[in-house]
């Protein structure tokens, strides 16, 4: 085995181990020099990003990659953990690392005035470790462990501005909600283990009978993961956490929320797979219903907000609705067999996961830039900032077009796929989705007008453009948004389609593990 092969074979563990190790080394570098610590954290994340990209290329080229911790012979009754990485896992991991690396670059200037930054960088790297673990693991209990790592580090980061009561309150709410969710996930895992004597997702999926206990596990897992993913009416922690956390943290929180959504996808498509059609109530229709309600509530609540970050947080809730709508439509139209319309809906939903992360992420970074420059987030007090913050204004306009799904930005391509497929399911669903998108445009035009346009306000005369590291972080995301928007076919063909196919092809996911165990 040459060095490259060794690297690729071990890339699943490297993707998790390197940020984990980096997290605990960061305070040591912090003791030497603050800049060295920041450079080290960014370096660790760039290495992790490279590993995730190499792993993704390998998975798309050669198929599912597994990594076994413990005895390699799976027929032996030894406790072991198994990572199983398919194109869907890679898709989610790419989102996580991109947002994490951008957040670290943004943090350089944004968090500079704060104390306790050794802890901040450690927690941010731990949070990324947790997300990557959730996305790469093929083991249910391991998923729970990484979910807990993500939740605990996220809660600490939400409450990072500990001198502000509301941040601490938001962190408290987040940890309460996360703990309850995780408890139900753990209970469901116990139900699986009690019945099938297995914790591996593929082995559970192969053995699942849709018994009474399996149905209870399904209900509990959907509830817990939907709450973590911010689906209405379980979303209420989300505006609190998103709006009170530092903007760099909010960016990674978006990825953490989506990691839970990934768990929901894994549950519906891989673990329950074909069994899900046996449910007396269509799970697909349930998701469609949740999707529409999430879109409407998110958008209507966003209209009423005057705090910029809270407004974006509710818009983020609405955007989650689009993903759920696409995925739900995919589930409905692919029962009992895979259909082209269903696959289109699924591709739209999956593509929108990435687009939402970028678009909403950029909006939060812009909100952070406004806060950094003015110490203000109220839309009633802001105004005329475009005169002093030209680049930030340009990034906001790019984000505005993308979130609202206007051509030629990335949001348009994914929403087009969702509109078209939902129209085939039921035209009213598509009409609601389009109207909500128009409302999103109106909401962000309101932000553009009240924060950036209008006369120059005397109290903001001294306001300057934000530091270069923050501009660079926003430019990275804006650049990706434009590239994804202008070349959507390349992204869908090379990244989204393999992810959608991996999700639909649960037989391939199961048979990979069974081939390792010799069909045991």
């Amino acid at each position: 085995m040459n060095a490259l092969e060794f690297f690729v074979v071990n890339s699943p563990i490297f993707a998790v181990a390197i940020p984990l190790l980096g997290a605990f080394l960061t305070p040591i570098f912090g003791m030497i020099n603050d800049k060295l610590r920041n450079v080290f954290a960014i370096f660790i994340m760039i290495i992790t990003t490279g590993i995730v990209f190499a792993l993704s290329y390998d998975v798309v080229t050669n198929g599912i990659r597994t990594y076994i911790f413990g005895a390699q012979d799976l027929s032996l009754p030894v406790v072991r953990i198994l990572f199983e990485v398919d194109a869907m896992s890679c898709f989610m991991a790419i989102i996580s690392v991109i947002l994490a690396v951008v957040a670290l670059i943004y943090s350089w200037a944004f968090m500079k005035e704060n104390t306790g930054l050794d802890k901040y960088y450690t927690l941010l790297l731990l949070m990324t470790t947790g997300m990557l673990g959730m996305e790469l693991t093929g083991d249910m209990f391991n998923f729970f462990v990484f979910l807990e790592i993500t939740s605990i580090s996220s809660a600490a980061l939400v409450a990072f501005w500990i001198n502000r009561g509301k941040s601490v309150e938001a962190g408290f709410k987040y940890i309460v909600i996360s703990t309850i969710g995780a408890l139900f996930v753990l209970f469901s895992i116990a139900l699986f283990y009690g019945q099938y004597n297995a914790l591996n997702m593929a082995i559970i999926a192969n053995s699942i009978q849709f018994t009474f206990l399996d149905k209870i596990a399904l209900v509990l897992l959907i509830g817990a993961l939907a709450m973590k993913a911010g689906i209405v009416p379980l979303h209420m922690w989300l505006p609190d956490a998103y709006s009170k956390a530092p903007s760099s943290v909010t960016l990674v929180l978006v990825a953490a929320t989506q990691a839970s959504l990934y768990g929901l996808l894994r549950l519906c498509f891989t673990i329950y797979g074909n069994m899900i059609t046996l449910s007396p109530v269509s799970i697909g229709w349930l998701l469609v219903l949740f999707g529409i309600v999430t879109i409407l509530l998110g958008v209507i609540m966003a209209i009423a907000q005057t705090d910029l970050k809270r407004l974006i947080a509710f818009a983020a809730v609405g955007e989650i609705g689009y993903m759920i709508l696409g995925i739900g439509t995919g589930l409905v139209t692919m029962s009992p067999s895979i259909s082209a319309a269903g696959l289109t809906a699924l591709k739209g939903g999956i593509f929108h996961i990435m687009n939402d992360a970028l678009d909403i992420g950029l909006m939060f970074l812009v909100a952070g830039a406004i806060f950094y420059a003015t110490r203000e987030t109220s839309l009633d007090r802001l105004g005329g900032l475009a005169r002093n913050m030209k680049y930030t204004t340009a990034f906001f306009i790019i984000g505005l077009l993308a979130v609202s799904g206007l051509p030629p930005m990335n949001g348009f391509a994914s929403k087009l796929l969702i509109y078209e497929s939902t129209y085939q399911l039921n035209p009213i669903l598509a009409i609601i989705a389009i109207l909500a998108s128009i409302l999103l445009l109106a909401i962000f035009v309101k932000v553009l007008h009240s924060a950036f346009l209008g006369p120059a306000l005397p109290r903001f005369n001294e306001v300057k453009e934000v530091p270069k590291s923050m501009l660079f972080a926003m430019a990275i995301i804006a650049g990706i948004i434009i590239v994804f928007g202008v070349f959507p076919d390349i992204i869908i063909t090379n990244i989204v389609e393999p992810a959608a196919n991996a999700l639909v092809n649960n037989a391939g996911y199961i048979s990979k593990i069974l081939s390792l165990t010799g069909g045991a």
Partner: protein, 122 residues
């Protein structure tokens, strides 16, 4: 390495298609037409003269802070019409974590009733 042709490919959406490059070319052409039409306009605009002052039906111009339309005032009429639902939704968002957990219990109960009970398992 991706071949150059793949950059120009049109996204097929099942019933339709989407090619942003064609759209961008169309927008550029439209902008050129707009610029040409604009070129026929009057050229006697003078910056910094009374031409640029706001006309408020003869009323004096307020100071800058008061002239700016604030976030709460944008779409005021629209928000007023939606007030009934906004107030209803605001009542849902109590900010109390106990209520958040209550919603979780309600959703679990609904899922339980819809997925488990109809199957006749109990």
């Amino acid at each position: 390495m991706l071949p150059f042709e793949s950059l120009l490919k049109t996204l097929q959406t099942g019933s339709g298609f989407w090619n942003p490059l064609v759209w961008i070319v169309a927008i550029i052409v439209a902008l050129l037409v707009v610029l040409i039409i604009r070129g026929f306009g009057k050229k006697d605009y003078k910056k910094g003269t009374s031409q640029t002052q706001a006309f408020l039906s003869g009323n004096p111009e307020y100071d800058k802070e008061r002239m700016h339309i604030k976030g709460s005032n944008v779409y005021w009429g629209f928000s007023e019409i939606l007030n009934w639902i906004i107030n209803l939704l605001k009542k849902m968002h109590t900010g109390n974590v106990s209520d958040y957990v209550l919603w979780f219990v309600i959703i679990i109960a609904i899922l339980f009733l819809s997925i488990i009970i109809p199957a006749g398992a109990i």
